[in-house]
Every structure is written in C-alpha cells, then in structure tokens.
C-alpha cells in the first residue's frame, strides 16, 4: 500500500525570477504514514502555513510532486481537488472559520452537503459529531453566541463530520487561552487514537512537544524531523 502522503522536492515560489522572489517552500520532501500525529513547527514566515496549504490541496506547488494515497495531486482538476478536500481532509483553522449566518449544526453538516448526502443522514451525522465535542444541545445556536473554545470545538465537529482520514489543524489553539487550548489538543489526540492522521501546524514548541513526530521547518526547508515518545494520559 502506498504511503498516505509523499512530498518530493516541493517548491512554492512567488514572483519567480523577479527581484522580489520569495521561496515559501524551498525543496521540501516529507513522508507521512496513516495514523501519525505530526506537528509541523516553525516561526512565522518559515513556510509552515504554505506547507499546510499544499498538503491540504488548497494551494498548488510551483514544482515538485505530491502523492496523496498514491495519486499525483498535481494532475488533478479543480473539481477533483475539491472532492479530495471534501472527502480526505478535515480542516481546523486558527480563526475557527465557521460561517456566521449558519447554525452550528448547519456549519457542521456543510461538508456533507457538498458530499451530496441526503438531508436526514446528514443531520444525524452532524449531530453525532456535535455530540462528540459536547455541543449537541446547542445545535441551533449561531457561532457568535459561543466562546472561542466552543467555536473551535464546532470547527472540529465540522472537520470530522465527513470522517476524513486526515485532519489538518492550523494553529488550532492560537486564539485560545492555554486551558481551552489543552482541551482542543486533547480532542486531536483522541481523534488520533481513533485512527485519524493528524497534521498540526504550530509555532509553539510546547504544543509541538505533545506530538509523536515533530517536523521543524525554517526558511522553507525542513531542518529537523524526529519521532518522540509521548504520554497522552
């Protein structure tokens, strides 16, 4: 079986050839297997967010090959990329990115809407996901009626509603206090235990320290990649 993620010599270059050329990713190669919990750590401007965008099929690398489950992502059409984002990847963002005009349950079921699931199953799945993050009773509320930590839990529910194999979290605790942040990390660890592959992007070494594998990135290059033993009790 192919590896889940294989990045080969990935470059992301802005204004190539000009004086203002920026190499956000400067030859990144990275393999990630199913079930891993990877923290991508780096200072701001290190290229970690660009890496996540490439990994999440939100952005297309300038050069290099990205094999997701053995499929060369560079050859896929926009529609096929949409489908991959929909089925294979669940996103959790720093700013939660819930849609303000939709209720919690509607936010959570949005990925399922684009999957094309029928409304009854969809609602059931979305409520189950909300249940998991402990917010099922507030399913009719709107995002702005919730605290930051609660909103991020809704975002987690949205990310897992479609049961994607990969969860990508971009600074998921960045906007939260440390206690709430630990709570969110706890959810991610549980998801990893359930079998989801977690890719966590952060600038915070303390948070990275909770991951089984740490990939350190600086100036668009990977400068460290190590496994570690962690105790999630």
């Amino acid at each position: 079986m192919a590896r889940l993620i294989e990045l080969r010599d990935i470059y992301k270059i802005y204004s190539e050839g000009l004086e203002s050329e920026v190499r956000a990713l400067n030859g990144v190669s990275l393999d990630i297997d199913r079930g891993e919990f990877v923290a991508v750590v780096g200072q701001s401007g290190s290229g970690k967010s660009t890496l996540m965008n490439v990994l999440g099929c939100l952005d297309i690398p300038t050069y290099g090959t990205y094999l997701l489950d053995g499929v060369d992502v560079g050859t896929l059409s926009d529609n096929q990329l949409s489908k991959i984002r929909n089925r294979e990847i669940g996103f959790i963002f720093q700013q939660y990115n819930l849609i303000p005009g939709l209720t919690l349950v509607e936010n959570v079921e949005l990925p399922l809407v684009y999957t094309g699931m029928d409304p009854i199953d969809r609602r059931e799945r979305a409520l189950a996901a909300l249940e998991k993050v402990g917010l099922a009773d507030r399913y009719k509320s709107f995002p702005k009626q919730l605290s930051g930590g609660q909103q991020q839990r809704v975002a987690i529910a949205r990310a897992i509603s479609d049961e994607p194999p990969i969860i990508m979290a971009d600074e998921p605790t960045g906007a939260l206090d440390s206690r709430t942040g630990r709570e969110i990390l706890r959810f991610l660890q549980e998801l990893n235990i359930e079998g989801h592959t977690i890719i966590l992007i952060t600038h915070d070494n303390g948070i990275a320290a909770t991951a089984r594998r740490i990939v350190r990135i600086s100036d668009g290059k990977i400068i460290e990649d190590r496994q570690q033993e962690v105790d999630w009790k």
């Binding site: 965008n53 999440g56 939100l58 952005d59 926009d78 529609n79 949409s82 489908k83 984002r85 929909n86 089925r87 996103f91 963002f93 990115n97 819930l98 849609i99 005009g101 939709l102 949005l110 990925p111 809407v113 684009y114 999957t115 094309g116 409304p119 949205r158 479609d162």
Partner: protein, 417 residues
C-alpha cells in the same frame, strides 16, 4: 449540492442583509412594474380597437368615389355611381353579402318638442363617456344593416321598394329611439326631417353592449339613400361593401376596383377601395410601435436595475470572500459557488419581479380607468414573461460576480478578512 439546499442558503443570505436586499429588489421592481403596465395598457388598447372594429362588423370593404370635375359655377358634376355599384355587387353574390352608401345626412329631426337642433353633448363626469348627443344620420341602402353589423329589433328594415319609391321612412338606433320616444313604441310615429314627414319603420338592436359600449354606435338614424331628394345633402361618395368572409375580401377589392376603373371616365374622378382589416392592421402596427418605444424606455430602466444587481452582488462577493474560501476548503466545487451566487441573484430579482408584477397590475388597472376608461386586465403572457425576465436578469447580471467568486483560489479567499 442540490437546488433546494442552494435556495435555502440563498434565502439565508438574503435575509441576513434585509435592507440591502430590499434596495436591490427595488431596482428590478421599478423596471418590471413599468414594463408590465406599459405592455398591459398597450394590449388593452389593442383589445379596445379590436372590439370597436368588431362592433362595426368584420370583412368590410370601404369604397370612396370622388369627382374632380366641376361646371363653370364650381358645382360638382359628379354622377351618382351607386346604382351601378349596387348592380355590380349583385352580380358577384358569391363574394358579397351587401353594399350600401355610407352617406352622411345632415338634417334637423323633430318629434314633438324634441329636436336635434338643440340637443347637447353630455359626458359622464366619471368615465368621460358620451351619454347624450345628437344622433349620427346616414343614408343607406336596403343592405345598410348587413354592411354595418346591424339587426332589426322592432318593426322592419329599409326595403328595396323603399329605395325604388323614394319612401320617406327611417330606422332608428336604440339610443336615438330612446332619446326621442323614451319608453314609447316608435314604430309608425311620424317625425319631421328638414320639415318633411318621415315614418319610423324600425329600430335596430344595440350593437355595443357592456362596459366598453360606445354610445354613438347605437345613436344613429338611417334613411333610404333615395330620400336624399327630400332631405337634401351632398352626393354620396362613401360606400361600404360587406364581403362574404375574410377570404372574399381581397376578391372584392380586386373586382370592385377593376369595375370602378372602367366605370369612371378618365380625368373626371377617382376611387379607392380598402378593407377595414387593413385599417385595423395599420392601427395595430401603430400601437405596437408606441408599445415598442415605451417598452424600450422601460427596458432601459430594467437594464439599469440589472447593473444595480451586479453591483450589489459584487459587493456581496467581496464581503463574503472568506466564506467562499471556507466553502472551497471543505469541498465546494467552483460550480457550487457559482450556483450559490446565481441563485441568490435570481431569487433577489425574482422577489423584485413579483413585487413589480403586483404593482404593475395595480398600475395598469388604475391607468386604464383614469386614461382609457376601461378595465385593463394584465395579460398572462406578460405577467409570466415579466417574472421570467426578472429572474433571467438576475442570473445574467449575477453571473459575472458569481464566476468571479468561484475563480478565487481557496488560499487567497481564506486569507481575506
């Protein structure tokens, strides 16, 4: 993503910005309301003229014969061509139902204290319709009623013998009969026509009924044309031929035209033969043209409204760039984004359109009453196409912002504030 879901989402976004949505609708609403009322009023006027022509009879051919030969004193040397025309029409019975002069008679008709000499025009204050006026008097043949879509309600019609014998008789229209005789039976009554005794022999059944009834259509008096000898008046130059059916009309025009060409000595006069349907057609064309011009002006207001929609949708897209990014990140295809914004624009315009149709209906009703004194009902095809047009406009003008929204790279969209 199915349509129902998209409609629901679009509804949410519309309701989220109520004030803006109402203003956007307003721009479409004004355009639709004006197009709608203009077209309805135009259609109403066409119906009205159609009804007028129908009341006067269909398949009618008008003939004018005029003379330009005069004697030394300036008196017309015109000949009375009617007997020839009458006989000719009798010879082409397969095409012709009847022929009559349509001569205007100018006479003072008196019965007791009532006389046309002091009859006044009166209008209904509210509708502006004529409710009282001196009757229109005509000279006709025994086929006058056939040619003018008239039937006898009481008594008898003018006969061939009346013409032959120069009988001093007359037939009244319903309104003329009421003016002179009220509820009395007019048959057999003797009236003074320019001082001559004329006997009423019949009363016509009313031609125009209902709301659009024209008083003058039944406010008529008809004399046998030969009684012109007693009453006086100009030589008759206008004639009406009633063709058997619509197919016969062109035959009648050709044949009568040919006959008159041979009949009238060259240099002494001329003639014209034309059908009323030609008249009606040209009048309809005229109305259509006015309608086109007015409709065009209204269409410009629709265009302006459409550009307003585009403007608003562009703002909406910009405001919701982040939402678009989120949707794209969790799996929305470009087509789903396009559909979302198209449906939103279409719905906005659709609501505006419905409002416009309602106001258009009221406007055409009020305009109809105020200006044309008739009830104008909105035509179904106008209503439906007005609605279709507004939705279509929304789609057309919404498509640019929608496509623009879908083209955003998910990363770019997510980055926006």
């Amino acid at each position: 993503m199915n349509i129902f879901q998209s409609v629901k989402m679009a509804w949410r976004s519309i309701m989220a910005k109520k004030g803006r949505s109402v203003l956007t609708m307003l721009s479409i609403f004004i355009g639709i309301a004006s197009v709608m009322s203009i077209v309805s009023v135009m259609e109403g006027m066409k119906d009205f003229t159609r009804a007028q022509y129908a009341a006067m009879g269909t398949n009618v051919v008008n003939v004018s014969i005029y003379s330009w030969s005069f004697d030394e004193d300036g008196n017309s040397k015109a000949k009375d061509y009617f007997p020839d025309l009458y006989n000719f029409c009798g010879s082409i019975k397969e095409y012709v139902d009847g022929v009559t002069p349509n001569g205007y008679a100018s006479a003072t008709v008196t019965y007791g204290t009532k006389t046309t000499a002091n009859m006044e025009y009166k209008w209904d204050e509210q509708s502006g319709r004529t409710i009282s006026a001196p009757p229109r008097m005509s000279f006709g043949s025994d086929q006058y009623s056939i040619c003018n879509n008239l039937t006898i309600a009481k008594g008898r019609d003018i006969s061939y013998l009346d013409l032959e014998r120069y009988n001093q008789v007359m037939v009244l229209g319903k309104n003329a009969a009421e003016t002179f005789f009220g509820t009395m039976d007019p048959i057999g009554k003797v009236m003074q026509v320019n001082g001559q005794a004329f006997t009423v022999i019949g009363v016509y059944a009313p031609r125009a009924t209902g709301e659009n009834a024209d008083f003058m259509l039944d406010n008529i008096i008809v004399f046998p044309y030969t009684s012109r000898r007693a009453i006086g008046g100009d030589m008759m130059t206008e004639f009406i031929i009633k063709a058997k059916d619509s197919q016969s009309v062109s035959q009648v025009i050709t044949r009568v035209g040919g006959f008159l060409k041979g009949l009238i000595p060259e240099g002494t006069g001329g003639y014209s033969v034309y059908s009323q349907s030609q008249w009606q057609e040209s009048e309809n064309q005229y109305l259509n043209m006015i309608g086109l011009v007015l409709g065009g002006i209204a269409a410009i207001s629709l265009l302006v409204g459409g550009i307003g929609i585009m403007n608003i949708m562009l703002v909406t897209v910009t405001e919701r760039t982040r939402e678009i990014g989120i949707r794209r990140a969790i799996g929305a295809k470009r087509s789903s984004i396009v559909a979302q914004f198209l449906i939103e624009a279409g719905m906005l315009c659709g609501f505006g359109g419905i409002l416009g149709i309602l106001v258009g209906m009221v406007l055409s009703y009020v305009l109809g009453k105020l200006i044309f004194h008739m009830t104008i009902y909105p035509v179904l095809w106008v209503t439906l196409s007005a609605f279709g047009l507004s939705v279509l406009l929304g789609m057309i003008f919404g498509s640019y912002p929608a496509v623009k929204a879908s083209k955003l790279q998910p990363v770019e969209a997510l980055r926006s504030e």
